[in-house]
């Protein structure tokens, strides 16, 4: 299977020079073996601005730090080769005004990013204005750019917004850098794990803990339309689905159910939560409308029905059921009708999650003692396994549907030592598998939508 994937995706990166833009473009629908050389010139700041910013943020060279955010984002896609700053011949300020393209071509850079940071005072408050330009080195011209003004503490987000712009311009697809990941931070021995909700920027910075670890919390998921989160909490030993506003910290239990509710997920419009209710040894899928407070049972079967996930148009739900005797993936209409099994490969299947593009379902598969993260079409055809390990599960899609983040646990040794849980990401092509660094052990990741303004 893996070989097949390799064959299918061993194509070189195609760099097209389209007539309209004459800009290099990246085809990311294929595997990437030849990343595009790109230079991110350190963003320039005049001395007055530097001093001001140093006073505000205690950062000596903010321009350079913003460049690093961009470089880091682009490099981690596996699509770009960010060139070493040491090799840059031109000064950042002059490059930003008008690059000497020969100099950049000499170090084999095809794309150049330059920028400028200025401090500003508006209504007696400090702001920073950040300007960025994207240059096509071979075409010898500027192809994109913008400037924006924001509060100084927002500087990393500006780096992410620039990264998104560059990614969109060069790949033709939406970016995913100005996003956050919510996950479960884990600590302590395996038999007594302490779990907290944590949130961080997509690149691992700005980690914040949202619960204290007094009660077990699991499976946080973002509302795709705002900064609300739904998750499972064992508060007062009553496992129930909760809703959390991460701006205000306000939490509330979702609905009034006579048993354990779990496996929550928002509908694409963010107005409903689907979840499982377990009662008297049977788990069924329910939906609760957060505006009307009407809750409705969608499945009716003596088997376990869980892990529901909506299609992006909201018309269908994929879920996990063992009604055939063991765990398989099913699809039904969002009113619960027309239930159809779609997974028929060897092994058992769990945690189906519909891609934000609508064409694929990511899943966890257990076969011959190994766990796989894979994708299949929504009719179950075209199954592709992306990664294999001792234990891994819980795929979550990047908002542009290009990357899957999941968690992986290690096998313990004979003495039960050596357990760890970490977040990993992998490209849809099966390439570019990466550890996502977190302050503590981590599991159950969920990727937010693009943050907007």
């Amino acid at each position: 299977m893996r070989k097949k994937i390799l064959l299918l995706f061993v194509f070189c990166l195609i760099l097209k020079s389209s007539i309209s833009y004459s800009l290099v473009e990246i085809d990311i629908t294929r595997g990437n073996l030849d990343p595009l050389p790109i230079s991110v010139s350190p963003f320039f700041a005049d001395e007055t601005s530097k001093e001001k910013i140093k006073k505000n943020l205690n950062i000596d060279n903010l321009g350079q730090e913003i460049s690093k955010v961009i470089e880091n984002n682009l490099r981690k896609t596996g699509l770009f080769d960010t060139l070493d700053n040491e090799s840059f011949l031109q000064q950042p300020d002059i490059a930003h005004l008008k690059p000497r393209f020969e100099d950049w071509a000499l170090i084999k850079s095809q794309v150049l990013i330059t920028g400028k940071v200025t401090s500003k005072i508006i209504n007696e408050k400090d702001y920073i204005r950040i300007e960025f330009k994207l240059w096509d080195v071979l075409g010898a011209k500027m192809v994109d750019g913008f400037s924006l003004t924001t509060v100084p503490t927002n500087w990393r987000r500006v780096g992410h917004k620039i990264s998104d712009k560059v990614y969109e311009r060069l790949t033709g697809e939406r970016g995913y850098f100005d996003t956050r990941i919510i996950y479960v931070a884990e600590e302590g021995p395996k038999t007594q794990r302490v779990k907290k909700l944590a949130i961080m920027d997509q690149d691992g910075f700005n980690t914040k803990y949202l619960t204290l670890g007094n009660e077990l919390v699991l499976t946080p998921r973002f509302n795709p339309t705002n900064q609300m989160v739904t998750y499972l909490s064992y508060f007062r030993n009553m496992p129930r689905v909760y809703l959390l506003n991460i701006e205000t910290g306000k939490q509330e239990v979702v609905g009034d159910f006579p048993g354990m509710t779990f496996a929550p997920r928002f509908s694409p419009d963010g107005k409903k939560i689907i979840m499982s209710l377990a009662k008297d040894g049977n788990s069924e899928i329910w939906v609760r409308n957060l505006e009307t407070n009407i809750q409705e049972k969608l499945t009716d079967h003596p088997s376990i029905d869980t892990s529901p996930s909506y299609s992006p148009d909201g018309k269908y739900i994929t879920f996990n059921s063992d009604r055939s005797g063991y765990q398989q993936i099913y699809v039904m209409r969002s009113d619960g009708s027309k239930v159809k099994r779609i997974s028929f490969g060897k092994g058992i299947y769990g945690t189906p999650v519909w891609s934000p593009r609508g064409d694929l379902i990511a899943f966890t598969k257990l076969h011959k003692g190994k766990f796989f993260i894979g994708v299949m079409r929504t009719d179950g055809s075209g199954e592709r396994l992306l990664t294999e390990n001792f234990y891994q599960e819980a795929p979550s899609w990047s908002p542009n549907g290009r990357i899957i983040i999941f968690y992986r646990e290690t096998k313990t040794d004979d003495k039960g030592q050596g357990f760890s849980a970490k977040l990993w990401s992998i490209d849809l092509t099966g390439y570019n598998e990466r550890l996502v660094k977190t302050e503590t052990d981590a599991s159950d990741p969920s990727w937010s939508s693009l943050l907007g303004n």
Binding site: A263, S283, D322, G325, Q327, T412, Q417, S443
Partner: protein, 184 residues
């Protein structure tokens, strides 16, 4: 698979199972649950790689040892064990639960929580459901033996609270359990 084939396989499997038990050779445990009947389980046991001598501690892949077992009351074991992905109570489990029921009938002021657990070899959400199913299997049995349902709460922990942190079939078998805990 047609019916005659199933029957034929099941028959073979039973024979193999008997031979395996009779010889008391190395027992091994499947890690991938694929079927729900006990007969096919025996077949998989036969096929899977042998791991270690577990004769005294596991039957099929159900834990039969005592080293993690606590007491609900003197002489009354607090827990029962399950096969991979299963919620069926074994003969030994039923015996344990009858003891629990007898004790609960004698101590009618006691209420309990039956905690359901799964091993780490399953997805988190499915295991939460599986733990709930196991806890209810134990609860139902207690009710059959005269304990009223309002004295028994169930609480599933899925795979969140293993007693054994090992990553091997024996550890997993200890973790697939329901535990009856006094609530007052």
């Amino acid at each position: 698979m047609n019916l005659s084939k199933i029957l034929k396989n099941a028959f073979l499997v039973v024979i193999i199972g008997l031979i395996v038990t009779a010889c008391a050779t190395k027992k091994s445990v499947k890690t991938t649950p694929t079927e729900s009947t006990t007969t096919t389980k025996a077949a998989e046991t036969q096929k899977a790689d042998p791991i270690e001598k577990l004769d005294a501690l596991m039957q099929g892949d159900v834990y039969i040892g005592t080293d993690t077992v606590g007491e609900l009351a003197s002489g009354v074991p607090d827990r029962v064990f399950f096969a991979t992905n299963e919620t069926i109570l074994t003969t030994a489990s039923r015996e344990t639960l009858r003891k629990q029921a007898a004790w609960l009938r004698q101590n009618s002021d006691v209420t309990v929580v039956v905690e359901g657990h799964a091993d780490e070899r399953g997805t988190r959400e499915y295991n939460l459901a599986l733990g709930e199913r196991r806890a209810n299997a134990a609860k139902d049995y207690l009710m059959t033996y005269g304990v009223s349902s309002d004295r028994i709460k169930v609480l599933s922990y899925g795979k969140e609270r293993p007693v054994d942190s090992g990553s091997n079939p024996l550890s997993w078998s200890k973790n697939r359990r329901s535990v009856t805990v006094k609530a007052n």
